[in-house]
Symmetry: none
Subunit: 245 residues, 2 copies
DNA sequence: GGCGGCTATTTGTCCGTACTATTTTTATTG
DNA sequence: CAATAAAAATAGTACGGACAAATAGCCGCC
């Protein structure tokens, strides 16, 4: 028996290539494809999931399916080991906690982090230093949900990354990290800690850590003065075999 | 409304950790889990698909589901589709070439791009615009090695990404992309093109494209004004091999 | 014990229906 | 004409049922 959803996927790909659904346009809706191709909506969805895994379409809930390529594009992968650290300071720096306090997230901070305002969080402000100097290299704000207050006594002494502490202590699993990089001016009080001139530029990296239920269990933002840091990644082209399906 | 399948996944993970389903053992069958957890088999399958993407279980048709880890392996993967574009402008912008010229790379530019000075390159300056406006959103400088001058007549009309043009025309394969992000001031002549105030901040993204012989065959840098752009990435925790639909 | 065949089991696939939350479009109002 | 409200459209989720195909274990048999 011939599986249907790969055939449906192939048919849609050929329609895209034939110009029926040009790049940038919306595909017909799932029920419409279901009627047109005479298969159930489940089968259409399985086919579209395959196209999505190929990177040929972008889907947005309640807004449609957009064509973004007419061929299976090469895929580049950046693999990041958690112990290998999310930034470039592997074991080259030590952490220095500057303050720990309970806060209610105000509107400005909530807008910047793209989180709901009004909730209570445990805020940790920290700096990083080279092992051979007292000079601060960068500043990080970390925000734990207030419900995880049990973490507080362990924060100072924990040597690893905070999200691993969270996973171990609170019995949860981080399944996704959303990261945003912006160019900003360094806030004055951070500039004083870091010894940078006023109006200096920095990379601001915000991260939100999510469980598989899409709950944000940790947020952080790091200020990297532009005279000391950049943000580098190497993407490698993945072997085509991984596409097999 | 609480989604069910992530909750089911979490419940199974905790059962595994609690020793109910030890590593190496078979999970109960899908219908059995469906009865036990009081959700439909579809929901069980969605949950197991998530565990599989985490690399915690192995599934074999008609042979069962085997537990192979009691924790999510600490690997985060960022998959970047090449035509699904390296930045956030999918099909939403059009390209406008501003100038094409042969240059010799001077010391300053070479230092910024971290490439050897003195070599000859073909430089292309371009802007990106929304489809419904003439206003320029961002600026990109692209540098081809001068030996690939055969590309020049095709640059204006080629609709896709330049590195794919390079691959097609010059019979080579890009196997690695090195990317660096920095916070900068927008240079004056670019600020004039983009209509941004003087001294405005921007993200500067430089990319170098390498073949498998570690030869740099393309370099680019993009200025993204900080009032219009950020750089977002989502890292997913999953087994690098698991990519199918 | 070893072999072969039968059977229940199990995942993968497919169908049709229903509901939800949000976006997009249309109609309405000031 | 702009702002607002209502309606339609859409992807995501969830349910329950059904069939296919190949495995694994069981039985009897030699």
């Amino acid at each position: 028996m011939a599986l249907r959803y790969p055939l449906v996927a192939e048919k849609i790909i050929q329609s895209i290539r034939a110009g029926e659904y040009p790049i940038g346009s919306l595909l017909p809706s799932e029920p419409e494809l279901s009627r047109k191709l005479k298969v159930s909506r489940s089968t259409v969805r399985a086919a579209l999931a395959q196209l999505q895994s190929f990177g040929m379409i972008e889907r947005r809930p309640r807004a449609g399916t957009r064509v973004c390529a007419d061929a299976v594009p090469p895929v580049y992968v950046h693999t990041m080991s958690a112990s290998g650290d999310l930034l470039n300071f592997g074991g080259h720096t030590r952490r220095q906690i500057q303050n720990v306090e309970n806060i209610v997230m105000d509107e400005d901070l909530a807008a910047w982090l793209e989180l709901p305002a009004g909730r209570r969080w445990l805020h940790v402000g920290q700096t990083r230093h080279p092992y051979d100097s007292e000079a601060a290299l960068c500043w990080t704000d970390v925000y734990f949900p207030a419900q995880y207050a049990e973490l507080r006594p362990r924060i100072e002494s924990y040597p690893g990354l905070f999200y691993t502490l969270l996973e171990q202590t609170c019995d949860l699993t981080v399944s996704e990290i959303a990261q945003k990089i912006r160019a900003v001016d360094i806030p004055d009080f951070i500039a004083r800690h870091l010894g940078t001139p006023d109006q200096a530029r920095a990379l601001n990296i915000t991260r939100k850590y999510y469980t598989n239920t899409k709950t944000c269990v940790l947020a952080s933002q790091t200020y990297l003065p532009s005279d000391r840091f950049d943000y580098s990644i190497v993407f490698s082209r993945q072997s085509p075999s991984a596409h097999g399906g």
